[in-house]
């Protein structure tokens, strides 16, 4: 799919700014009118290029909502005709599953699971994931600390270190 320069400009602005940025401001940044910007946004949504307006939340700071994230290496037996897609679909439909990637290398699918507790994740792996027909083996890695997520560094001192006025 080939996008126009302005469509890419709008996407980059969205990617690098708060999801709450007003359309007027996007328009100014991209040197467009408000109407033009709105129609570009509609078009991008329609093409499913612009999929969702997301927020990055550091849940580890919120008592009672810390949660547990695990990355699971899954080896599967691909099926004739549908390859890995069918088993991937069976996995990503679980609401606990945040991401599923087909990987090159030592295993086939990388699955990211979020749960409320280690127990919950363990139960999901043993009861739901490893019991799927095509799944040959799973290796579960629990995430101990998130330093950087989706390009955003958590726990960083973001203070402006510049002097207030300089030539």
């Amino acid at each position: 799919m080939k996008l126009t320069e302005k469509q890419i400009e709008v996407l980059e602005i969205l990617e690098n700014n708060s999801a709450r940025i007003p359309v007027e401001d996007i328009a100014k940044m991209a040197e467009l009118s408000k109407a033009e910007t709105e129609s570009i946004l509609d078009k991008l949504e329609e093409m499913k290029v612009l999929v969702r307006y997301n927020s990055v939340i550091d849940w580890s700071k919120v008592d009672g909502h810390e949660g547990v994230t695990a990355m699971i290496d899954v080896k599967v037996a691909p099926k004739r005709g549908v390859g890995f897609d069918e088993v991937a679909q069976r996995i990503y439909r679980f609401k606990e599953v945040m991401s599923v990637y087909l990987m090159s290398g030592a295993y086939d699918l990388s699955v990211i699971i979020e749960g409320r507790s280690m127990n919950e994740v363990a139960r999901f792996v043993s009861e739901k994931l490893s019991t799927l027909d095509s799944v040959l083996s799973t290796t579960t890695h629990f995430i101990l600390k998130k330093y950087k997520h989706d390009g955003t560094i958590f726990e960083q001192n973001e203070d402006d270190k510049r002097i207030v006025v300089s030539p």
Binding site: I21, D160, R162, V164, V165, P167
Partner: protein
């Protein structure tokens, strides 16, 4: 016994302290200030560059380098200038690595000026030009540019300022504080005058990487101009490396060698770790610079259009990261405006008159700050304008 004699040099005593100082003192003690008064990037130096400097320290590169700078760095600079701006300089004899572009400016002026030699400074200008000319024994001749002309010097204005004593002209494009960028044609017109009157041109190209509209032209790339050009640049703005204090100057061999004499006695060499950082910046920093440039351009578009909507008319600056709106509609002087805005709304801007008389009626706003803060600053300026309209 109380002496009446002053131990200070007359030249220094008569030098005006920078007006920026007062605003710094005023703003420094306040909490919650949104600063648009900063003359440096809001980005931290790219990590690959910082990491290279750390590595150089770990490996023990803590001694002096050659006076003119690490040969490897000068070679990279030569390659970079050729590739980015189409100018070719010999790393052996025409490039000197300096402590920021400021030192480059200082040794350039000291290398070329005799007492009484005149240097044309295009106003509004960076605060250091006039004092540095004076300190080098020269006489600064200020030419005031107008908002109507986009703060560009007209060839006839330049010609009118030239006398028998004129030795050089200092150009800065993209400009601090106006953001104005001169086109190839406009530079050509200046080049013709330089040729006609046999002048040198000190071209301060520190903002060359931050040119947003159209092609950037280096003065030295104009036909026949390399021999008249002292090209000053550095890593501070484009590569977000202000605190490293690393710049460089390219000039014909004779001038370069004269500058090197001053540099070797007064400075010895630029800091070694900063030179290693700069080397990395040239080798791998191009994509970082491109990313920062895109980000500045978007913020410029947002900020300048928003200022204009508020009635603070502002030309679209072609480069750097400054907007230079007129505040004449408020009836306040630039100092009054800046001071009131700071005290009432906690937004720091720099009064235009600090950059020369022709800057009066304007303020310099740096848009090198986050979008969220720019949006908030626009809200506060809007509130300020409404409050002051009523009064």
């Amino acid at each position: 016994m109380k002496g009446t004699k002053s131990y200070l040099s007359k030249t220094v005593e008569e030098l005006k302290p920078s007006g920026i100082r007062r605003f710094f003192d005023l703003a420094a003690g306040m909490e919650g200030v949104i600063s648009l008064g900063v003359g440096e990037p809001d980005f931290i130096t790219p990590w690959s560059v910082r990491e290279a400097a750390i590595l150089s320290l770990e490996q023990g590169y803590t001694s002096y380098t050659a006076n003119a700078g690490l040969m490897e760095l000068r070679e990279e600079i030569a390659g970079y200038m050729q590739k980015s701006f189409g100018v070719s300089y010999s790393p052996q004899s025409e490039i000197t690595v300096t402590v920021g572009a400021s030192q480059a400016l200082d040794i350039s002026l000291r290398a070329i000026l005799d007492p009484g030699d005149e240097v044309i400074v295009v106003e509004p200008s960076f605060v250091s030009y006039v004092p540095l000319v004076t300190l080098a024994g020269g006489v600064p001749v200020q030419v005031q540019t107008l908002k109507e002309n986009g703060f560009k010097i007209l060839p006839e204005q330049l010609e009118n300022a030239i006398t028998r004593r004129t030795k050089a002209i200092i150009l800065c494009s993209p400009n601090n504080p106006t953001g104005t960028m001169l086109t190839g044609d406009e530079l050509n017109a200046i080049a013709q005058k330089a040729e006609k009157y046999d002048l040198l041109v000190l071209s301060d190209e520190i903002y060359a990487e931050l040119a947003y509209d159209g092609e950037y032209t280096s003065f030295a790339s104009i036909r026949e101009m390399k021999k008249r050009t002292i090209l000053i640049s550095g890593f501070s703005k484009g590569f977000a490396m202000t605190g490293w204090r690393l710049g460089f100057v390219c000039a014909p061999e004779e001038i370069s060698q004269a500058m090197l004499k001053i540099h070797q006695y007064a400075m010895m060499c630029a800091p070694t770790m900063a030179q290693f950082a700069a080397l990395e910046a040239l080798k791998t920093g191009k994509s970082d610079v491109e990313g920062m440039k895109k980000s500045y351009k978007r913020r410029r578009n947002y900020f300048v259009q928003s200022l204009n909507e508020l009635g603070l008319t502002c030309h679209m600056p072609g480069g750097a990261f400054y907007a230079f709106p007129s505040i004449k509609s408020t009836g306040l002087s630039s100092e009054e405006f800046a001071e009131k805005l700071l005290l009432e709304e906690k937004v720091a801007v720099v009064p235009g008159n600090i950059f020369g008389e022709s800057g009066e009626g304007h303020v310099r706003c740096s848009y090198a700050t986050s979008m969220e803060l720019l949006q908030e600053a626009i809200k506060r300026i809007n509130h300020f304008l409404k409050q002051n309209q009523k009064a």
